[in-house]
Amino acid sequence: MKIKTDKIKKISKSSFTIYGMVIMAYVIMQILVSTGSLSSLMEGLLVPLCIYVILAVSLNLTVGILGELSLGHAGFMCVGAFTGAFFSVATVDLITIPLLRFGIAIILGALAAAVFGIILGIPVLRLRGDYLAIVTLAFGEIIKNFVNVIYIGTDKNGFHFSMKDAVALKLEEGGKVIINGAQGITGTPNDSTFTIGIILIIIILFVILNLVNSRAGRAIMAIRDNRIAAESIGINITKYKLMAFTISASMAGVAGVLYAHNLSTLTALPKNFGYNMSIMILVFVVLGGIGNVGGSIIAAVLLTLLPELLRGLNDYRMLIYAIVLIVMMIFNSSPKAIELREKYSLKRLFTKKTKGEDA
C-alpha cells in the first residue's frame, strides 16, 4: 500500500502551535490537578495520554515522513518497556534516587528499541509497502512471543537466564525472579509522572520537528516522495530510511518505559503489545492526518479518552466506540465529507470568497 500524504508543509509552519498546544495542555491540567477539580479517571489518564501521544508522534515519523507502513510499533514499545522495567526492578535497591533511575531506564529503553530498530531495519527496509508492513507485524509478534518465554532472575551470584521456566534459573536462597515468563515483571516502581511524560513529549517533538526541517529530514521525505529520483541525486536510501526507522523505534521504546513505570505489573499480552496495539497507534496517525504531527497528538488524545468517556454506556461502550471510529474516519477523510465541510466553513466565513493557495 503506497502512502500518500497531504500537505506536509504544515509541519514546519505549525510547529510553534504544536509546542504551544502541549504546554498549554500541561498548564491547564496542572491547575486542574492542584485545585482538585480533575476526576480520578482523568488524573489516572494523564500518563497514558502522554504514552499514546509519544507513540502516535513517533509512528508518524515512519508512516508520514518516511512513508512506510509499519504494523510493529508495539513491538518496539515492548522492547523498551521490558528493558526499562528490568533495569528499574534490578536496581531498585541500588539506585535510590527515583529520578536518576528512571532517567537511566528511559535511555536504556530507547537504546534497546533502537538496537532492535537497526537489527530489523537493515535487512527489511529493502522491502516495500505491504511486505514491509507484514514483516514489521511479524516482528512485533516475535517480540511478544519471545518476551513470554524469558526468565531472568538474580541472586548473589549475579543474573541467571533461562528460556524454560523460573525453576530452571536455579536461584539461590533469597534470589528474586525479575522477568518471569508470561507472568512478566511485577513491582516496577511507579516512576512515571505527567510532568515527565510532558517533558518527554516535548523532547520527542523537538527531535522530530527539527529533524524534518533539516537536511536529513528533507532526504527522508524525498525518498518517500520518489525513491528513484532521490537515488539519482545521490541520496543514500538505506541510510536515511534506517535513520528514520530507528529514531521512530527508539521513541516507541521511550513510550514503553513510561508505560512500564505507570503500572506495577508488566506482561506482554496481545492487548498491550500485540498487533492490535500497533494498529491502534496507526489509527491515531491516520485519523490525525498522515504526516501531521499535531493531528496525531489530537487523535491520540481523543481516541484514548473516547472509550473512557463512553463508560456510562456500559454494554454498548465498545460498540459505540467502533461506530464513532468509523464515522470519524469517514468524516475526516472522505473527499465528499471534506468538500461538504469546506463549503460549510466557506459559507460561515462569508466575507472571504475564495480560499486561494492553501487548498
Binding site: 476526576s39 525453576v167 508470561a182 506495577s264 505489573t265 498491550n272 500485540g274 473512557e308 463508560r311
Partner: protein, 383 residues
C-alpha cells in the same frame, strides 16, 4: 449520579466521607457502593461477564432481602478488556463514583495493577478469581479463589497421593499468567511426588486452535495423564482433538476447566472421565448450588461457571465481613477498608465454592479443593 468528586489522595479521605454523609442524610438511606472490574469485552469477556452476572445476582438477592443490615447495595461493574491499564482506568472511574469496596478484578494481570492502586488508596479489595500470587500481596486485598501455586501444588499432590498416574504430560498456555503460574508450581511439586513429566507442551494466545501437535507429543511420550492447567474453552478443543486422534489418557485440570460441561452444544461424552480440582460444580446437589444455578439460568439464560460462583460468593463474603466488622455505609472507604481487613480474618463463610471458608491476613482463602470427576455428563465428587 453523584456530583461530588474527590481528587488528590490527601483530600480524598475527608471529602469522600462528606460526600457519603451528604447522600446519607439527604436520601432515604445510604447505600454500600461496591465496584466490580473485569473484562466485559475482548477475548476474556467470558470470564468478566460471568463475574458481573454472578455478582449482580448476589446483590439483587441481598437487596431484595433487605440489604446488609438494612442498607442496600449499589453495584457498578466496569470493563477492563483484560488489560492492566484499562483496569486502572476502570478503577479510577469507580473511584469517581465513590466506590467503597472493590470486588475485582477478574483476571490476574489487571488485578495486580489495580491492587497497587487500592493499596495506595486503602480501599478494600476482594478478587473473585485473580489467582496470581501478587494479586493479594497487600494487606487490603483478599481473594475467593485458590492461588495459582496452591492449585499447582494441590494438583500434583492429588495425582501423586492417589496414584492416579506416574507419567504426566502438561499442556499449558505459556502466554497466560494463570496457566503458566500453575504449571510452574505443578512441575516443581511433581518432582516431590514421584511424578514424571514426560512432555510439557505450551501454546499461546495466538495459536490456540490446533493442539494436535501437543497431543501427539504427549501420546508419543507415553503419558497416562494430561494435566491441563488452562481454561475450558481451549480444553474442550483439546478433548475433541484427542478424541479424533484416538488418544485417550486421563485428563486432569484445575478450576479453569470448570464450566466445560456448560459449553453450549458440547458433547459431554468427550469429557467423560476428566478430573478437575475445583471449588465449584454447577451440578452439585446441595441447595445453595441448586438455587444459584436455577436463579442464574433464569436471569441470564445460561449455566453459571466457576467465575460466576466466585463472584456470587464474593458478594456474600463482603456482606459477612461488613456485618462482622460493623461497617456502615456512611463510613469512608478507608475506614471500611480498615474494618474489613480485620473482619476478613474472623469470618467463616459457607459459599458455593467452599464450606467454612476462612481467610488469613495475607489474603489467601482456606478451603478444601474438591476433586471431581465427570461421569455420565455430570460432576461427581471423588475421594
Amino acid at each position: 449520579g453523584n456530583t461530588a468528586s474527590e481528587t488528590t489522595d490527601a483530600a480524598a479521605t475527608t471529602e469522600t466521607t462528606d460526600a457519603a454523609a451528604d447522600t446519607a442524610t439527604e436520601a432515604t438511606g445510604a447505600t454500600f457502593k461496591i465496584g466490580g472490574i473485569g473484562p466485559a469485552t475482548g477475548g476474556a469477556a467470558v470470564y468478566g461477564l460471568a463475574v458481573k452476572n454472578g455478582a449482580q445476582l448476589a446483590v439483587d438477592e441481598i437487596n431484595a432481602a433487605g440489604g446488609i443490615n438494612g442498607t442496600q447495595i449499589e453495584f457498578n461493574f466496569q470493563d477492563d478488556e483484560h488489560d492492566a491499564e484499562k483496569a486502572v482506568n476502570a478503577y479510577n472511574t469507580l473511584k469517581d463514583w465513590n466506590m467503597q469496596i472493590l470486588m475485582g478484578t477478574v483476571t490476574s494481570t489487571p488485578c495486580i495493577a489495580v491492587a497497587e492502586e487500592t493499596n495506595k488508596d486503602q480501599i478494600f479489595q476482594l478478587t473473585p478469581s485473580g489467582s496470581a500470587v501478587p494479586c493479594v500481596q497487600y494487606d487490603n486485598a483478599f481473594r475467593v479463589c485458590f492461588s495459582d501455586p496452591n492449585q499447582g501444588i494441590a494438583s500434583a499432590q492429588y495425582i501423586g497421593e492417589n496414584k492416579i498416574a506416574s507419567k504426566v504430560a502438561v499442556i499449558y498456555d505459556s502466554s497466560d499468567v494463570y496457566s503458566s503460574g500453575i504449571y510452574e508450581k505443578f512441575a516443581a511439586e511433581a518432582a516431590n511426588q514421584g511424578i514424571e513429566i514426560v512432555a510439557s507442551e505450551a501454546f499461546t494466545a495466538d495459536s490456540k486452535t490446533d493442539f494436535t501437535v501437543q497431543l501427539q507429543k504427549a501420546k508419543d511420550a507415553g503419558a497416562e495423564l494430561v494435566f491441563l492447567p488452562i481454561y475450558y474453552t481451549e480444553a474442550s478443543l483439546i478433548l475433541s482433538q484427542a478424541n479424533t486422534m484416538g488418544f485417550a489418557p486421563k485428563f486432569f485440570g484445575c478450576d479453569g476447566l470448570d464450566g466445560i460441561l456448560s459449553v453450549e452444544n458440547f458433547d459431554t461424552k468427550l469429557a467423560e472421565g476428566v478430573m478437575l480440582l475445583t471449588p465449584f460444580a454447577a451440578d452439585a446437589q446441595d441447595d445453595l448450588t441448586k438455587n444459584f444455578v436455577a436463579a442464574f439460568q433464569k436471569a441470564y439464560g445460561e449455566v453459571p461457571n466457576q467465575f460466576a460462583a466466585d463472584a456470587y460468593d464474593a458478594i456474600y463474603i463482603i456482606k459477612a465481613a461488613i456485618e462482622s466488622g460493623k461497617v456502615t455505609a456512611d463510613m469512608s472507604a478507608q475506614d471500611i477498608c480498615a474494618a474489613l481487613k480485620t473482619a476478613m480474618t474472623t469470618i467463616s463463610v459457607d459459599g458455593l465454592t467452599g464450606a467454612g471458608m476462612t481467610w488469613t491476613a495475607d489474603g489467601e482463602v482456606n478451603k478444601a479443593p474438591k476433586a471431581v470427576k465427570i461421569e455420565n455428563g455430570a460432576y461427581v465428587a471423588m475421594q
